[in-house]
């Protein structure tokens, strides 16, 4: 297994060296706590050995968009792409600092987190309008995919004519129902993944090389 990872990293470095064209910026979007940073870390670690950012069970851990440049990905189909991964704050229409108090933060910390989270959501929307070439939309498979924010975000992405892959994440959890997500967004490719365990990420890489190439 370690041989395979070493081989993948060597191929990745080789491709980065020879394919010096501008990388497509692929934004990882979704509601808070869908596992966006866990998935971004998985992708970046698999192909560079690095990471994007910290993860937490407290919502809005990612409050600034973070970009990792020149990630060269090769699918099992042999196709390759070089992309920038942009991990974005979870998108929502409401943020109340009282929610963070339930996770043990004191009032001052919670207020600061809420303020930074609001700025992060606005920043994520700005990136989507100006600087993103494709989207991986991450959803928690244990939750209702018909939440309004998902309907709105997929509508916004479609209106901008950006290629999108929907990831039904957290399939390692016992109450995961990824087929609900497939039913909710039949117009887009939906890949069932566990970003945490790395389950089925090869299928995601293959879809990325076909969709964003």
């Amino acid at each position: 297994m370690s041989f395979l990872i070493r081989a993948k990293k060597k191929i990745s470095r080789f491709l980065r060296f020879f394919l010096k064209k501008k990388s497509a910026r692929i934004g990882i979007y979704g509601p808070p706590n869908a596992g966006k940073t866990t998935l971004a870390n998985r992708i970046v670690r698999d192909w560079t050995g690095d990471a994007v950012g910290p993860v937490s069970e407290i919502p809005h851990e990612t409050r600034r968009a973070r970009r990792k440049e020149n990630i060269a990905i090769t699918g099992t189909n042999g196709n390759s792409i070089v992309i920038d991964i942009v991990d974005t704050p979870g998108v929502t229409t409401k943020i109340d600092y009282h929610e963070f108090l339930e996770y043990g933060l004191d009032k001052e910390e919670a207020i600061i987190r809420a303020r930074e989270a609001t700025e992060g959501v606005a920043e994520a929307m700005h990136w989507l309008r100006e600087d993103i070439d494709g989207v991986i939309y991450v959803l928690d498979s244990t939750l209702d995919p018909f939440m309004q924010v998902n309907i709105m975000m997929v509508g916004i992405i479609e209106s901008r004519k950006l290629p999108v892959i929907i990831v039904a994440n957290k399939i390692d959890l016992p109450d995961a129902a990824p087929t609900r997500i497939k039913g909710a967004f039949p117009q887009h490719p939906v890949i069932f993944v566990s970003g945490l365990e790395g389950r089925n990420v090869e299928a995601l890489y293959e879809e990325m090389t076909e969709h964003f190439g």
Binding site: T93, K94, I95, D96, Q148, I151, G155, S159
Partner: protein, 122 residues
């Protein structure tokens, strides 16, 4: 004095006369006063994007906490008219939309043809 919640039903005609920013301002100003808004025709995706961004900028500790918003899924035109719409690239338009303060409006049930919501007064 009678206690309650104000509900503003805004017609498609009135919305059509407004620019995107005027629509968003109308929605946010109304919702921040604790009112519920029902739009006869929903927002375009670009307007929804700006509404999310401006909502975030107006959230304050112990004040406005954001919006709750629900709309029906888009309806697909069928038959000959649907064929013509697809042929000329016309997309299905968004439909009736309910928007309210996040701390007062809670969705109970949402189906493709029914939105059931609960509203509390401040």
């Amino acid at each position: 004095m009678m206690q309650g919640v104000q509900i503003d039903l805004i017609s498609e005609d009135r919305l059509a006369k407004l620019t995107s920013m005027e629509k968003i301002r109308l929605i946010l100003d109304d919702v921040k006063e604790g009112n519920i808004i029902v739009l006869e025709k929903g927002l375009a995706p670009e307007e929804a994007s700006k509404l999310i961004e401006l909502t975030m900028m107006e959230i304050r500790p112990d004040g406005f906490t954001g919006i709750e918003m629900e709309t029906y899924p888009e309806s697909e035109s069928v038959g000959f008219s649907g064929f013509i719409s697809r042929l000329i690239g016309r997309k299905a338009s968004s439909r009736l939309t309910v928007i309210g303060p996040a701390n007062q409006l809670k969705m109970i049930k949402k189906e493709k043809d029914l939105i059931s919501a609960w509203v509390s007064s401040r």
